[in-house]
Amino acid sequence: MSTFLAFTIFGLFSGAAYAIAASGLVLTYTTTRVFNIAHGALGMVMSFLFWDFSVRQGMPTWLALVLVLLVVAPAVGWFLQRFVCRGLGEGPVSVSLVVTVGLLVGCIGLATQVWKPEARSVMPFLPDTRVQLGSITVTGHQLITILLSAVVAAGLFLLLNRTRIGTAMRASVDNPELLKLFGGRPDTAAALSWAIGTSLAALAGVLLVSQVGLDYYALTLLVINAYAAAMFGRLKSLPMTFVGAMVLGLSTSYASGYLPTEGIFNSVRNVMPALFLFAVIVALPQAQLRIGQVKGSVAAPVPSTPKALAWGAVLLGVVAMLSGSMSTANLLLVGTAATYAMVMLSLVLLTGYGGHVSLAQLSFAGVGALAYAKLDEPSLYGLALASLIAAGVGALVALPVLRLTGLYLALATMAFGVIMDKLVFQHESAFGFNGTLPAGRMSFFGTAVSSTGGYVMLMAVFFVLMALFLLALRRGPLGRVLIAMRDSPAACGTLGLDMRWFRVGLFALSAGMAGMAGALFAGLRETIGAADFQFFNSLPLLLLAVVFGVTTVTGATFGGIGLMLMPVLQSDYPELSGLIFAVIGFGAVALGRDPNGLANLVFKGGRLAQTRLLPRVRASLPELPARGEAAPDPSYDEGADAPDQSQQKEVPVHAAP
């Protein structure tokens, strides 16, 4: 009985901390419609800062607390609202997700850069206080946490329901323009909610840090617990969020206390929050279509088939040249780039065309690789089977969220990634704990491709085929449906399109593509392990895909190369490893609003060169000036420009062929 009570107290303590974090999340979401994936990461940075102030610089604890919770965290929150998240709420969900994922990665990068990995510890508050409740002891820290969560709950309730600014915060979600006509200031309301939200994230981080330890990832992932609790309150109701947090805290605590320590159950305790999140998402009611929103953005143009074929041939030629001349180590890098590029192609389909965000695309690649290695059938048949298995898993992930939209789907993939990381890949029947599996190089109709160069070439061929398939899909009727669904789900609903199964199919197809990439990767490396498909690496993958352009094959190609270069750069400049993460994260924050990314700039440059420079060059060719009069006659120039003007406009989505 006393152990049960002890677990209950511990569950209440962690539930209280989750509740504080979750209420901050709910507050920012209900007032600005931006779901802050980086909530946990902000809490992580703030707890590092707290450590820095209180332990490293030796400030008194109360001063460090005041500085972190009441000065730095609100200032950061205000800054984020003002310069990062303003106006994100009205945009597509995928954009706000990508920007906050960028924030998350940036926070981790910043923390690793500023506070290099070393052993650190933070003492719990009031370490000497013990309260005896019958047979059990409650530490002062636990008591403080539980009391603080009650204070936060009451404070937020009063703020939102009893004050004018709190009412304005709720009003600004619906209609910020109208609030302005009332004389209110939506920006002030949003900034206040971000300031409070960040401060609550910091509070939760500081309260949990003595329990979890100062770890970049553990604290960041605590956000999953907060999501799960927030989902329990449907991201709206604060009381239900508190209930959810308590249920989650208690069930996690009981799970660690009473589940058998052997077999599969041992790992289950690690993924309790993710399982809880899944369960809550499954139980959520059907999301309503939001009417009156046209989110269509100008899409990057789809290349014509001859053009795509030509560029594919060019790429293959380059890879062929490389594979003949490069060392094996470098060839492995090229193969890795091809793998990442293929995974990014699957994101082009899912995010670029479909408008859904997957936060665990590498986990699907891992499923494909695992299946390929386990099947031990290194041929096209094995590859196809591995892709099919990955597709099936993708469908399984999408099924529970069949009825829900973007945000929930993304959170489900995040929970899925964590479950794969901690439960499946680590299991003995999979890779085993930190283990690896051998995988054979693929044979092609009986001919084994054993040389690394040949295999890299094979991967390039697969990449080009996949890209051509994707472009064909985009041009066909399915592609039109995809774009239509991304732009206006409501309009699709009125046209009688069943979006739910279509969404599952889309997700499965994308997972299958990622799985194929993973299987090919397994063949390339010949040995494969869970470490190759860490959930956290899916986040930079997504970010680079968006930065380089998640709507185009070109973007995926560049993104794959970029992601391959990242660890190379990190090993070349180990002192900058955090900085690279930070640059990518904050780069995505800056560029995330335009899903067409850098690739589109390249296209624009190309078109500009074609329409402006080409005539100019042609015009200057026959009459090469003898005495350095490089500038051609301007009047002639204008004439050459005029007919091409119409072609350099961006093609709107609906008008694209």
Binding site: T167, R170, A171, D174, L179, L181, F182, G183, G184
Partner: protein
């Protein structure tokens, strides 16, 4: 003559490359009710958006009570006494009636006074004070919207398409309220597609077509010539 409460001089505004206001000149005298009439797409709502600070002008000037306010922030304007009731239901559907009323106090009148005024004019709102505004009928929502015009004691009231989507009977009631507000000395610019309803309560009227004011005058003469103006396409 005293300074007009609203003076719009050669105002231009555009959505992207499409110019909607092409040199609007309009004057609303202090204490007067001005009806602004015109067909669809004439730029009436855009004019309201620009005057209330929701949209930037590309050229021209706006004076409120003699003060140059072009490019002022809409929240600032609302706080100094410009009350705008935009097209559609200008209430927050997910807040209760009372919370909607509390927000109206941003315009400078204490919340208690806002509640008193609103409930004395529209007793029906008092019955529903804890109901979500979005769950009320269209007419009741418009009452709530008008409460802001009544309670915040503005210097100038901009009403955009008050009648939109409402039954004629309710529209008449609403315009009775407008007349009441006008009697208390508030200047009103009211945009309306249905001329007769608006002209009933107004002192002056102006007709807008194709982004310009094409006629101004007393309601009677406007009513007489309006069919010509609109159908004959003077613009």
């Amino acid at each position: 003559m005293s300074v007009p409460i609203l003076e719009v001089l050669d105002l231009h505004a555009a959505y992207g490359r499409i110019e909607v206001l092409r040199g609007v000149d309009l004057t609303v005298p202090k204490g007067a009710v001005m009806a602004l009439l015109g067909p669809n797409g004439a730029g009436k709502s855009t004019l309201v958006k620009v005057v209330s600070g929701q949209k930037r002008a590309t050229g021209g000037d706006i004076h409120l009570g003699g003060v140059h306010v072009t490019d002022a922030d809409s929240a600032e304007l609302a706080r100094v006494g410009l009350c705008t009731v935009p097209e559609g239901r200008s209430v927050f559907p997910n807040l209760t009636v009372q919370e909607n009323l509390v927000l109206m106090s941003y315009a400078g009148v204490p919340a208690d006074a806002v509640l008193d005024t609103a409930f004395s004019y529209f007793p029906r709102l008092a019955e529903r004070r804890h109901q979500l505004a979005g769950t009320m009928s269209g007419g009741e929502q418009q009452m709530l919207a008008m409460s802001r015009a009544l309670a915040s004691d503005p210097a100038l009231l901009l009403l955009d398409e008050l009648s939109m989507g409402l039954a004629p009977l309710i529209v008449d009631e609403l315009y009775d309220t407008v007349a009441q507000i006008a009697e208390s000395g508030v200047s009103i610019l009211c945009i309306e597609q249905f001329a007769r309803t608006a002209l009933r309560v107004s002192d002056y009227a102006a007709v807008m077509i194709g982004g310009r004011i094409v006629a101004t005058g007393e309601p009677a003469e406007i009513l007489e010539t309006m069919d010509d103006v609109i159908l004959g396409g003077v613009a």
